[in-house]
Amino acid sequence: MKFVCFHLMPYRPLDLEAAKKYRSAWVVLPNSFYDPEKGAAEYESYLDQLVYAEQLGFDAIGVNEHHQTAYGLMPAPNLIASALIQRTKKVQIAVLGRALPLVNNPINIAEEFAMLDVLSKGRLIAGFVRGIGAEYHSTGVNPAFSHERFHEAHDLIVKAWTTPGPFEFEGDHFRLRYVNLWPRPYQQPRPPVWIPSMGSRETVVWASAPERKYPFMVTFSPESAVVRYHNMYREAAQTHGYAASGSQLGWAAPIYVADSDARARDEAKAGIESLFNNFLPMPYEMLLPPGYTSNASMKATIKLRPALGAWPRKQSIDELIANGTVVIGSPATVREKIERVRDQTGFDILITLLQFGVLPDHLARRNMELFAGEVMPKLR
């Protein structure tokens, strides 16, 4: 199993009570809540944690992109990746991912990823995502064209990495007379591409196609959904005529380890509940603007998950532990929970979120040490 130490870089000094007056911690939460000095300290702590992950033996360290939110302070994750490259030697750097439809020229993403790959001498893992619904509000990009723009930007970026330039690209959304990357990526023919997703059949079928075989990462989902999407990927691969390997299946989850189940729960509670009840929530209109998912998926969501529209949402750590969205407990408990999913799907990439919500540095670092020392070796 391959282990990624992943970070969202939330803004922990947020006044959670005062912030509740707003529709969401995304898009509309006034940035007067943000203090640049405290923000600088947050970056410093978080970069130190990710650098520490290399010493602890993680295979990769990961960051991602979110805009106009206290949930994550990385509107430009490649800047963080670049800093991490300078402070690490061997660990892979996973940007999970860049939101392709949100840019007006995807070549910027192809170029930046190529630079990171060369700077790191081939340590980059390139994640491609569509961004979440709220980001269509914060960028103004029309969600009705989200899927089209994602696919077209993807085709352009991969072609720019793998086809000698200059060439012309003629799409519906992106048209470029000259595509000719300087620098080209270090890894040949291209850096590995991973697809993190909340899950949708369309994405699974696309990612698993033989010409791509992109590893698919299920994020922030109950255990049953993780198992369902992994097996959906395996079935899609079968339909494409091959057997998917475990290295194509990933699971991203908040994880917390302490010496006992009770202690782990108590220490993780504030962090987990702030993540799910303060940093993450947003109403339907922000989460799923029309076009972001197909009308059919939208209808299924309205029917199957009416609670998603209920506002405000409140989930306790005990519910989240019970349904397996978060993995929390003693080293043995955490190991067993991960093995239980592995037994059902054979997945081989675990993306661990070891700092979450307001979880303070000292607990995050101890969590990382315990996970790396007591859980990771037995799962390898």
Binding site: R23, V27, V28, Y136, H137, G140, V141, N142, P143, A144, P283, Y284, E285, M286, P289, P290, G291, N295, M298, K299, I302, W311
Partner: protein, 259 residues
Amino acid sequence: MGADRLVTRGVSVRVRRAGSGPPALFLHGARGWPGWLSFFDRVSQRYALTVPEHPCFGASDDPPWLQDVTDLAMYYLDVLDHAYASPVHVIGHSLGGWIAAEAAVRNSGRIGSLTLLAPAGIRVKGVPPGDNFIWSPEEGARAAFYEQSFVEARLKETPASETDLDIELQNKLAAVKFGWSPRWLNPNLEKWLHRITVPTQIIWGREDALLPSAYAKLWSEHLPSAKVSIIEACGHSPHIEHADLVGDEVLAFLAGVRA
């Protein structure tokens, strides 16, 4: 006023018709095909009124080439050419007003007159429209009307069937396609409004919370001969909230237009 289909160059849309007399065409707003309104009864007393459901909306065709409001405007110029022998009185609400204006700047030859009810398409810098895409359904209803009784009635509307739910989702998708970015605006429309040379009236609810009534002044600056009416105690749908008053205004205006 039963529903029928109108086919223009291979695009089939739902349509309702009523009345006889000179032809009139009503272009609906972004919420979708409005069903039959008492305002339509009023207009169809003297005009042969057609109320199509725009392509991309509801159960009309959703042609992939139709990408933005200027495409809708060209589509309606095709409709005017194919379905009518004489100039048509075009009445448009909100998105429909925007479509009508885009069509008229391109070619007013088949348009007898233009009635714009709280039209989208241009905006006053520094006076943003309301954000209907971030509002909850309740906020949207409260912003749509001035009179609370209309709000309460709208809040009680829920899709009665699977088909109604499909239509509602398709309407929301179409609204996003045409209105998301920039919000309810074509930055290139304002500079061509002088090309509208047909008789025009502009009607706006004073208390419009979606498209502020301050926009009426900008329209009238570009269309100095247009008749402008601001309806007091009225939100974004003057033809619904003050159906009789607005019906009378529209009929009086149309009566004065030389055929």
